[in-house]
């Protein structure tokens, strides 16, 4: 126990002396939260539009004005040629070419079917979907507005039917930040656990200090505890800082128990540190370790439901997330923070994480023995 204390002392001395790493360790939660939460948003912002209005009537102008008034669409240019719009789309000047056909006003007022064409740049699929969604609802709104004056009776008949009243639970305003912040906190904790602890062991090997340590009576478990504990502590500390920023800076509701969350984070950190330790046993330089850790991290994040919902992945990919600790912890974070889930609701996920600790940590320690002969 005394030996571990001395190892911890030494480790913290080195961490706090590392002028390159220290600021990053403490700035990381802030920068990640602020930048990612604000930048990674699914809300539609000012779409540049090219307008091709063949009708040039009061009604067509009213539609365009309505679209502009929402603040989502910004008429960049207009001409009488659809090809102009396509050309501008190709050079990334606009994302939408709106085409209003001839006789638009006549058809709308007479009640005969007419259409408006939305040519959308769909390179970015999710933005295209949003443009289409927003555009459709504005145009539908518009058609409802102009028609009742003419075809009131018909309108009433159309209105009858099933009316949908959506109610968004846990995140009533569909606030994207509320969805992102818990996930980003998970990424933060994972980086500390997986990168720093594993890298630290490889570093001792790379600069040769492990030689000197190996001839001391330090036992293997003491050495590993001395390497894992500092970053376990820093990881939890980072999480607390991150949660404070989330609460005070982003008004993220803490519906569930923060203590429960920290306890689970303690288990989760052991999982990622175990992975980091395992990587350190199969690499001999920090560069190799960094590369492998990054590779795993990117896979974990992309398949972990941070940006895209796991439910929309193909079946095999959904099955694979069972082995993805990041996915489980993101889920737990969102459940506890936003929905107020308690122990009963998350216990099966915590069980999976615990199982991972029980498998990975001994495996890494076993490999560490072998790799140091």
């Amino acid at each position: 126990m005394r030996t571990i204390k001395f190892l911890l002392q030494k480790e913290f001395l080195q961490i706090f002396r590392n002028k390159g790493m220290l600021p990053i360790i403490f700035l990381m939660p802030m920068i990640q939260l602020v930048v990612l939460s604000f930048a990674a948003t699914f809300e539609l912002k000012e779409v540049d539009v090219h307008l091709v209005d063949f009708d040039r009537s009061a009604t067509s102008r009213a539609l365009v004005t309505k679209m502009q008034a929402t603040g989502y669409f910004n008429i960049q240019s207009h001409s009488q040629d659809v090809d102009d719009g396509i050309r501008m789309m190709r050079s990334n000047d606009i994302q939408l070419a709106l085409v209003i056909p001839q006789h638009f006003e006549r058809d709308v007022t007479s009640g005969s079917p007419t259409s408006v064409q939305l040519n959308i740049d769909a390179v970015d699929g999710s933005t295209a979907g949003l443009i289409q969604g927003y555009g459709r609802s504005i145009i539908q709104d518009f058609s409802v507005e102009v028609q009742p004056q003419i075809k009131q009776i018909q309108q009433q008949r159309r209105r009858a039917g099933i009316n949908i009243i959506p109610a968004n639970w846990y995140n009533p305003n569909l606030d994207y930040i509320k969805y992102m912040v818990p996930g980003i906190l998970v990424v933060l904790v994972s980086m500390i656990g997986m990168f720093l602890s594993g890298m630290n062991i490889v570093r001792e090997r790379e600069i040769g200090t492990i030689e000197q340590l190996n001839v001391t009576p330090i036992k293997r478990y003491q050495f590993i505890a001395g390497k894992l504990l500092p970053f376990w502590i820093i990881g939890l500390f980072e999480l607390v800082v991150g949660l404070l920023i989330a609460r005070l800076g982003f008004n993220i509701p803490f519906v569930g128990s923060v203590l429960l969350l920290l306890a689970i984070a303690g288990i989760y950190l052991l999982v990622v540190e175990g992975i980091g330790l395992f990587i350190s046993t199969i690499t001999s330089t920090q560069q190799q370790a960094m590369f492998i850790a990054w590779f795993l991290m990117v896979v974990f994040i992309l398949m972990g439901g941070l940006f895209t919902p796991i439910e929309s992945m193909p079946g095999w990919a959904q099955d694979l997330t069972l082995f993805n600790p990041v996915a489980h912890f993101i889920k737990i974070m969102r459940m506890v923070l936003l929905k107020g889930a308690g122990w009963a609701e998350v216990q099966h996920l915590v069980g999976i994480l615990t199982l991972m600790v029980v498998i990975i940590l001994p495996a890494a320690i076993f490999r560490y023995r072998k790799s140091t002969g």
């Binding site: 005394r2 030996t3 001395f6 190892l7 002392q9 030494k10 001395l13 080195q14 002396r17 590392n18 600069i207 040769g208 200090t209 492990i210 030689e211 000197q212 340590l213 190996n214 001839v215 001391t216 009576p217 330090i218 002969g373």
Partner: protein, 306 residues
């Protein structure tokens, strides 16, 4: 019981033989040197003796303990200084000392007497980071750290490599001092001139021990008359000497070329005639010299090859 006792030790790395049938005994309170070129197997042997590496076959015991079975006890009793500087460069001199003292369950104060002669030279720099020390200072710090727990045996792997001549001299003096306090020391070095500082040396090359003896005796083992020859062009001289019919060995040694003859007694005047008249070399100078340990080592290495 000898502090180090090695019998028929073998170690190879994936088919490459690093140590072949090594046997050596180091006596109590000896300053024992392993002399050999880079890649001779010195470090492999030291890593086995310090329990960092397992031998493929053979027996090795350190302080009466088996290097494989009792590695844990051995580690508390020996001080090891690896060839590469292996202390924390981002910790200060004092922090390094305190850390290594603490993992051995002791303190700098408790063992200050032993390290004082060396550490006192470092005390001015106690707060300096180890990475900012000069080569000689680093080496003193590493030696202090290796001594902090009063080891019975000190294992120094190429302690003087990369250190200036004055510091090297100083370092061997420190080792003599430690020896006088009853510590057994083994050290390896690629520098032949350091062999004379040891009580006994083992000449090691290609994983084989060529000879174990006192430095004087090793030099005396060289039983042929030795000539030192100089000429205006060393390169031409070596070439011509090697093609001389009686030439046995021709080794460049600084500005001279050391030459041995195949005959009992070399004919110096004939040789001079050959070099000046037949080969047209100028400023030829030939003298008879006493062989030193380096000549002996070269000689043994050559015999090994042939």
């Amino acid at each position: 019981m000898n502090p180090i006792s090695v019998q028929n030790l073998n170690k190879s790395y994936g088919g490459v033989e690093a140590l072949a049938d090594i046997s050596v005994e180091v006596e109590p309170n000896e300053l024992f040197g392993f002399i050999g070129p880079d890649g001779a197997g010195k470090t492999s042997l030291f890593r086995i003796l310090t329990t960092l590496l397992k031998p493929d076959s053979g027996e090795a015991s350190v302080l009466g303990l088996d290097v494989v079975d009792d590695y844990r006890t051995i580690r508390t009793k020996l001080g090891y200084m690896p060839g590469q500087f292996a202390l924390y460069e981002d910790l200060s001199v004092r922090e390094n000392m305190d850390f290594f003292a603490s993992v051995f369950g002791t303190t700098l104060e408790a063992n200050y007497d032993l390290v004082a002669p060396i550490y006192s030279q470092l005390e001015r720099f106690e707060d300096r980071l180890a990475g900012a020390l000069s080569g000689g200072m680093k080496q003193k710090l590493a030696l202090s750290c290796a001594l902090i727990h009063k080891p019975e045996l000190l294992v120094l792997d190429e302690p003087t490599t990369g250190v200036d001549a004055v510091s090297r001299q100083e370092f061997w003096q420190m080792l003599q001092q430690l020896k006088s306090q009853g510590i057994t020391i083994i050290a390896s070095t690629p520098y032949m001139d350091e062999a004379e500082q040891c009580d006994r040396v083992a000449l090691i090359d290609n994983g084989h021990i060529l000879n174990i003896d006192t430095p004087e005796q090793v030099a005396r083992n060289f039983d042929q008359p030795l000539l030192a020859i100089k000429a205006s062009s060393i390169y031409e001289l070596i070439k011509k000497l090697r093609s001389y019919e009686w030439a046995d060995s021709v080794q460049p040694f600084g500005e001279y070329v050391h030459y041995t003859d195949k005959r009992e007694e070399p004919d110096i005047s004939k040789l001079e005639l050959y070099l000046t008249e037949q080969c047209g070399l100028s400023e030829v100078e030939i003298k008879s010299i006493e062989p030193d340990i380096e000549d002996s080592f070269m000689n043994l290495m050559q015999k090994e090859v042939t």
